[in-house]
C-alpha cells in the first residue's frame, strides 16, 4: 500500500457504510464519524415505546425486488433469506365528503359510473376526466412521456413540476389534480405536486407498481447494523458515534494527509484527525452545518444549498389487538392488510401484512403506520406533541371506522418528523425541483478539492429516496477515491 490511504467517511447512514465497507475491504484505512448514537441514518426502526418484539419503520421501509445493489448487499451481509412481503395495496378509502369508508374497488366503480356522490366533491372535472379510475387518468396523462428514455424525459420535461405537466401537457383540470391528490396513494408522486416531473416520472417508472416490494424481517435497521457485524471488515471498530464534524480543512500544499477534520464529541471535547480522503455522505442540509476551508467550488456549493428535499412525518401506533384483520375481512371483504387513503389529516395508513414479523405472537398487539404525510401536511403534523398526534390518530380512525374498538385498543405512538431531525439536517429525502436534474446533478456527484473530497448519499444518485440510491452513491464515491488514489 502506497501512502495516502486514510479515508474518513462523514455519516454512518447506508451510503457511508457502503463506501467505508468497500474501501476498507479494498485496503484503505477507513474511519466513519457518525454524529448520532446509531447507524442507518434515514433508516430508522422504532422498537420503543412498543411492547417487546413489536416494531415499525419511521424512515425507509421498502425494498423493491428490482433493486440489484440492495439485493447484492442483502446476499453479502447474509440477509437475503430475511425478506418478507411489504403490503401496500390500497384496500380502503375514506373521504370526508363521502362520509363513509368504502373499499378502493368500490370507489373505482363509483368513478367509472360517474356517481355524483364522488364527482360532486370535485366540481370542475372536465367531461373527458369523468368515468375513469385514477389509474386510467394517470396512464392517459403519462402517454406523451411513455416510450421516451431518461434523456428525452429530461430534455422535454425537466422544466415542469408534476402539477404543471398535468395541467399543461396532460390537460388536467384543477379538480382532476385535487381528485388525484386526495384519492390516490402513490406516495412517491404526491409530494404536493411541486417536485420535478422528470424525477417523479423516472422514480415511478423504475420503482413503481411493477417492482415487488419487500421488507426486512426484524426491522430495516438490521441492514445497517449488518455492515458493522462483518468480522473481516470490522467496521464496528472503525466507527465513532457521537462525533459531530464541525470543520474540515484541505491543505493543498501538504504532501501527506492533506485533510484535517475537527469534530466534537458528545462529551464536549474537540478532536482533530488527519486523512488523505474524505467522503461526505450526510444530506445536503446537514452538510451546510460543516465549515469547509477552502470553500468547495461554486457549483458544488450551489448544488448543496439548492437541492430540494421532501418533508415527511410518520406516526406509528400500537393497538392492544389487531382489530383491523377481522374488520377488513368481515365488514369490507378486503383481506386483512393493506393501505387506507383519506383526506383526513392522517392521509395514509398501512395495516401490515398479517404474517409480518412486525407482530410478536402470542400477544395480539400490533403496530400500524397510522399516518404517512408529505410536505405541508407533514409540517402541520410535525409540530404537534406526541400526545396530540396520538389523539389525532384516534379521532381520525374513529371517524373512518365508526368503531368503539379504536378507543378500546389504542395504546401508544411514536412519530418522526424528518424536518426536525438534526442529524439529517431536516431532510427526509431528495426530490429535485424543475431544472435541478440539469443544473445540479453533475455537481452533486463530482469530487472536489482536487479529488480528495468525494460525495455520496441518496441525493447524489439516480434513485432519490431509495436505499438503492444510497448504496450506489457509496460505491461510486469509493470508486472515485480509488480512481484518484491509483493515478
Amino acid at each position: 500500500m502506497k501512502a495516502g490511504h486514510q479515508v474518513v467517511v462523514i455519516g454512518g447512514g447506508i451510503a457511508g457504510l457502503a463506501a467505508a465497507y468497500v474501501l476498507q475491504k479494498d485496503g484503505f484505512d477507513t474511519e466513519i464519524l457518525e454524529a448520532s448514537h446509531r447507524v442507518g441514518g434515514r433508516v430508522l426502526t422504532a422498537r420503543e415505546p412498543f411492547a417487546r418484539g413489536l416494531y415499525g419503520e419511521l424512515g425507509a421501509m421498502r425494498l423493491p425486488a428490482n433493486h440489484e445493489i440492495v439485493n447484492e448487499y442483502l446476499r453479502e451481509l447474509g440477509l437475503d433469506d430475511q425478506l418478507e412481503p411489504f403490503e401496500q395495496a390500497n384496500q380502503l378509502i375514506y373521504l370526508t365528503g363521502l362520509k363513509r369508508t368504502i373499499t378502493y374497488n368500490a370507489f373505482e366503480d363509483l368513478l367509472r359510473q360517474k356517481d355524483p356522490s364522488v364527482l360532486n366533491l370535485f366540481p370542475g372535472l372536465h367531461d373527458h376526466e369523468k368515468g375513469k379510475t385514477l389509474d386510467e387518468l394517470w396512464t392517459e396523462a403519462m402517454a406523451p412521456a411513455v416510450g421516451m428514455n431518461a434523456t428525452q424525459i429530461r430534455q422535454n420535461y425537466d422544466r415542469h413540476t408534476l402539477q404543471s405537466y398535468l395541467e399543461e401537457v396532460a390537460g388536467w383540470s384543477s379538480a382532476c389534480i385535487q381528485l388525484y391528490e386526495y384519492c390516490s396513494a402513490h406516495v412517491v408522486l404526491e409530494n404536493a405536486f411541486e417536485e420535478s416531473f422528470a424525477d417523479a416520472y423516472l422514480s415511478s417508472e423504475q420503482q413503481g407498481t411493477a417492482a415487488r416490494m419487500r421488507q426486512l424481517k426484524g426491522g430495516l435497521d438490521r441492514l445497517a447494523w449488518a455492515f458493522l457485524q462483518q468480522k473481516d471488515v470490522d467496521l464496528a471498530a472503525r466507527i465513532r458515534f457521537g462525533a459531530r464534524v464541525r470543520h474540515v480543512v484541505y491543505d493543498r500544499s501538504a504532501v501527506e494527509t492533506p485533510i484535517r477534520i475537527t469534530f466534537e464529541s458528545v462529551a464536549g471535547h474537540s478532536v482533530t484527525k488527519q486523512a488523505d480522503y474524505i467522503v461526505f455522505t450526510v444530506p445536503c442540509p446537514a452538510m451546510t452545518t460543516i465549515r469547509v476551508s477552502p470553500p468547495f467550488r461554486a457549483g458544488k456549493t450551489s448544488a448543496i444549498n439548492q437541492v430540494r428535499y421532501v418533508e415527511v412525518t410518520k406516526i406509528l401506533a400500537q393497538f392492544r389487538t389487531r382489530w383491523w384483520e377481522k374488520l377488513l375481512n368481515q365488514k369490507y371483504n378486503a383481506g386483512s392488510e393493506g393501505g387506507l387513503v383519506t383526506d383526513l389529516p392522517i392521509r395514509y395508513l398501512m395495516f401490515p401484512h398479517s404474517a409480518s414479523s412486525q407482530f410478536a405472537p402470542p400477544q395480539a398487539r400490533g403496530v400500524v403506520m397510522a399516518s404517512y404525510t408529505f410536505e405541508r401536511e407533514a409540517a402541520r403534523l410535525g409540530v404537534l406533541s406526541e400526545a396530540d398526534k396520538l389523539r389525532l390518530v384516534r379521532e381520525n380512525l374513529k371517524e373512518i371506522f365508526e368503531e368503539d374498538l379504536i378507543d378500546d385498543t389504542i395504546e401508544v405512538s411514536v412519530s418522526h418528523n424528518w424536518s426536525n431531525d438534526v442529524y439529517a439536517g431536516g431532510a427526509a429525502f431528495a426530490y429535485f425541483s424543475p431544472h435541478q436534474h440539469t443544473r445540479l446533478y453533475n455537481d452533486l456527484l463530482s469530487p472536489d478539492w482536487d479529488g480528495r473530497a468525494c460525495f455520496a448519499g441518496e441525493h447524489a444518485s439516480a434513485y432519490h429516496g431509495w436505499i438503492e440510491g444510497a448504496l450506489r452513491s457509496g460505491l461510486r464515491a469509493a470508486f472515485q477515491v480509488s480512481e484518484h488514489f491509483l493515478i
Partner: protein, 77 residues
Amino acid sequence: MHKLSGRLPLTETISAAVTVSLDIAAASKIDFAEELDQEIFPDSTSLLTASGDVNFTALYLAVARKGPKEILRELGQ
C-alpha cells in the same frame, strides 16, 4: 450521451445471480452523471447497454464484489 467504443475483453461470471461481462474501453473515464440519462430499464447483464453506454448496475455490482481498485485495473485506468 457519452459512448464507449473500443472494448477490453474481460468477460467473467461473478455469481450465479448476475453475470457481469466487462467490455469497456480501456482509456475511457466513466462519467457517473450519465447514470441519470440511461434507459429506464437497462439490461443488467453487461457492463455496456445495447446502445453502448455504461451499464451502471453492472458496474456497481462489479465494484461491490471485486473492489474499485480491481475494477479500475481491469479498465486499464
